[in-house]
């Protein structure tokens, strides 16, 4: 069974995002993931992500967005997280500003894993207290702990 926390590294978590537009936020996050070594080419990843956003926003409501794409510029499955205190217009389905962005990148060969991560994150959003937990975390460690806690509560204890 996959775990979000297995793919979301501390170094890919930014609690004080500064971007004020969808593109700026995505670039900020992808650049962070490049520093961590999870992304080799920021622009290549961005263009793949934007290609998907063009079809339909991944801002799925409750102030959360889950942009994602396959790209050879992300050799391994990796998740990045950025928190935006002021909120950013992401064309979200509920038209509300987005405060939490999870960027999911990886090569096309890991499609099954990618899909499971997306589905898991989408399920977590509906889990009571998850979004509040993201907002309240003071450190990357606390954020990971909050995600872990909700993931355990969500999954059957097997």
């Amino acid at each position: 069974m996959i775990r979000i926390t297995d793919y979301l590294r501390e170094s890919n978590i930014l609690l004080e995002g500064t971007g004020t537009s969808k593109l700026a936020v995505l670039r900020e996050l992808a650049s962070l993931m490049k520093q961590s070594g999870d992304v080799t080419d920021v622009e290549a990843c961005l263009s793949a992500v934007l290609e998907r956003e063009r079809l339909m926003t991944t801002g799925i409501g409750r102030g959360v967005a889950l942009p994602h794409a396959f790209s050879p510029a992300a050799p391994e499955t990796a998740i990045g997280y950025i928190r935006l205190a002021a909120g950013v217009d992401f064309d979200a389905v509920d038209e509300r500003p987005v405060h939490h962005v999870f960027l999911i990148l990886g090569p096309a060969t890991t499609q099954g894993r990618h899909l499971k991560i997306l589905a898991r994150l989408a399920r977590l959003l509906n889990h009571e207290g998850f979004v509040a937990g993201l907002a309240a975390a003071g450190t990357p460690q606390a954020l990971l702990a909050a995600i872990r806690e909700h993931e355990e509560a969500l999954l059957p204890s097997s």
Partner: protein, 493 residues
């Protein structure tokens, strides 16, 4: 040779049937040209009319007004049923302003144009009011039927405007007719009266829509074919009641359609399909009627004035009004220009032009004949250039081709769950995935994959390819978000 019954009826039905068949067969051609297909009926109507080879005498403007109103009610109701609220919400304000203030502005400019050509004020004002609204059926037909996929904001603005602006034109026409007959000048009270009629119309429409939804949900009719009849009844009833209550019946019908169409509806696919057909039929009838009403010999006297006014309307009056009114809103210049260009005039002006004629207003016949040119030119020029203009201005949106097969769940009762349809785009996670990898919520599943001409039974190992159409059943509407995250936007048929 004189015919007696039943031969008279037989001849009439044979002619009518033949006309219907011919026009539908020709509709592929007209679609490609972007001409509202119903325009053909105008020509057919003239051909079989009193001065054509058919020699059918028809100059009953009262009957034409009544049939035309009924047809417009059905067209607007259908338009409302097919208007998704989600698409309307972001453009509701600018489109509403176009539909109210815009209509008044267009009417004023058109009147000014007519006055400059030397018409009396009474005739000019009547003319302005009658041609002031864009035609819902024509706009819907050109945008949807012509395969033009506009950027959503632009398409929704045009469609909502055209659906909601006929009422204002009706109100103006009635007011001007009244004023011409009574000799009282138009004043601020006219505007206030228009506002009240619109407000009452909206209220009545919302109310009727909600009541009708409850009725449709609660009443269990055994024959599925009766549901559309019930909804047609709702449309007529709403119009009548709202009008009697002092509101705009047309606006009420459009709003009631929106309310009904955006909620749960039993036997939905059946109801929508019937209304779609009925709306087409209505449009065709309106144009046929117009063709019959026109006496080509009377048109010759006003050819140049008619053409000049039609061009003035398309190239000056509408663009000026639209560009000014859309200025405060978040549209690009290209979008504003495009909206100003697609002001198609349809059969509505004909019905409206019949009203002052009925009421015996001075100059009404002249206006009636002028309107013919506005309708033909107003449908032909923007209509045939819509696709070109959309492409030229970069406002066209790539849309997946429709699937070769359609799956739908038809139920008379309201069952839980919905069937969603997706076009697999290479940019989505779904592309290339095995169905077993999709990690769906538990109460959702792939029902059918349509690949080209093949229907593929979805198995765990089936891989989705770019260009596939996938039907997914999901029991809980809340899961739609997750599925769209994986598949992109659901396709609306």
């Amino acid at each position: 040779m004189t015919f007696a019954e039943p031969h008279l009826t037989a001849v009439a039905l044979a002619v009518l049937g033949g006309l219907l068949v011919i026009s539908i067969l020709l509709s592929r051609v007209t679609d490609r040209l972007g001409v509202p297909g119903a325009l053909l009926f105008l020509v057919l109507g003239m051909l079989v009319g009193s001065e054509g080879f058919g020699g059918i005498e028809f100059d009953d403007h009262g009957l034409a007004f009544r049939i035309g109103s009924a047809a417009l009610v059905l067209i607007l109701f259908d338009g409302g049923l097919n208007t998704p609220l989600a698409a309307v919400r972001p453009i509701a304000v600018p489109a509403s302003i176009l539909a109210s203030v815009g209509v008044a502005g267009t009417a004023a400019l058109a009147a000014l144009g007519a006055r400059l050509l030397g018409f009396a004020w009474a005739e000019a004002l009547l003319f302005g009011a009658v041609v002031s609204s864009t035609d819902a059926a024509a706009v819907f037909a050109v945008l949807r039927g012509g395969g033009v996929h506009l950027r959503q904001r632009v398409g929704a603005t045009l469609e909502f405007e055209s659906g909601a602006n006929d009422p204002m034109a009706v109100i103006l026409t009635m007011a001007v007719t009244q004023s011409v007959i009574s000799g009282e000048a138009l004043g601020w009270s006219t505007l206030a009266g228009a506002g009240i009629q619109l407000a009452v119309g909206v209220l009545a429409g919302v109310l009727a829509g909600h009541v009708a939804r409850q009725v449709l949900r609660r009443v269990h009719v055994t024959a599925g074919g009766l549901y559309p009849i019930l909804s047609i009844g709702v449309a007529f009833f709403t119009f009548g009641l709202a009008t009697l209550a002092g509101g705009s019946g047309f606006l009420a019908v459009y709003i009631a359609g929106i309310v009904l169409g955006n909620g749960p509806l039993p036997y939905r696919a059946g109801i929508l399909r019937v209304h779609d057909s009925v709306a087409w039929f209505s449009q065709i009838s309106m144009f046929l009627l117009l063709g019959l009403l026109i006496y080509p010999s009377e048109l010759t006297g006003v050819v140049w004035h008619g053409l000049a006014l039609a061009l003035f309307l398309a190239f000056v009056a509408r663009p000026v009004v639209v560009l000014v009114l859309l200025l405060p809103f978040k549209f690009t210049w290209r979008e504003r220009l495009f909206v100003s260009w697609v002001g198609l005039r349809g059969a509505v002006p004909i019905i409206l032009a019949a009203f002052p004629l009925l009421a015996g207003a001075e100059g009404a016949l002249l206006v009636f004949n002028l309107v013919f040119f506005v309708v033909v030119v107003g449908a032909l020029i923007p209509g045939t250039t819509v696709r070109w203009a959309a492409r030229r201005m970069g406002l066209e949106e790539a849309m997946p081709p429709p699937p070769r097969a359609m799956l739908e769940v038809n139920s008379m009762g309201l069952l839980r769950g919905e069937l969603l349809s997706f076009h697999v785009d290479p940019a989505t996670m779904a592309c290339g995935a095995a169905i077993s990898d999709l990690a769906f919520p538990e109460d959702a599943t792939v029902m059918l994959v349509v690949r080209g001409n093949d229907l593929i039974p979805p198995r765990g190992g089936t891989r989705l390819e770019a260009g596939d159409h996938v039907y997914i059943f999901c029991r809980d509407a809340a899961q739609r978000g997750v599925i769209q995250l994986i598949f992109g936007p659901a396709v609306e048929h």
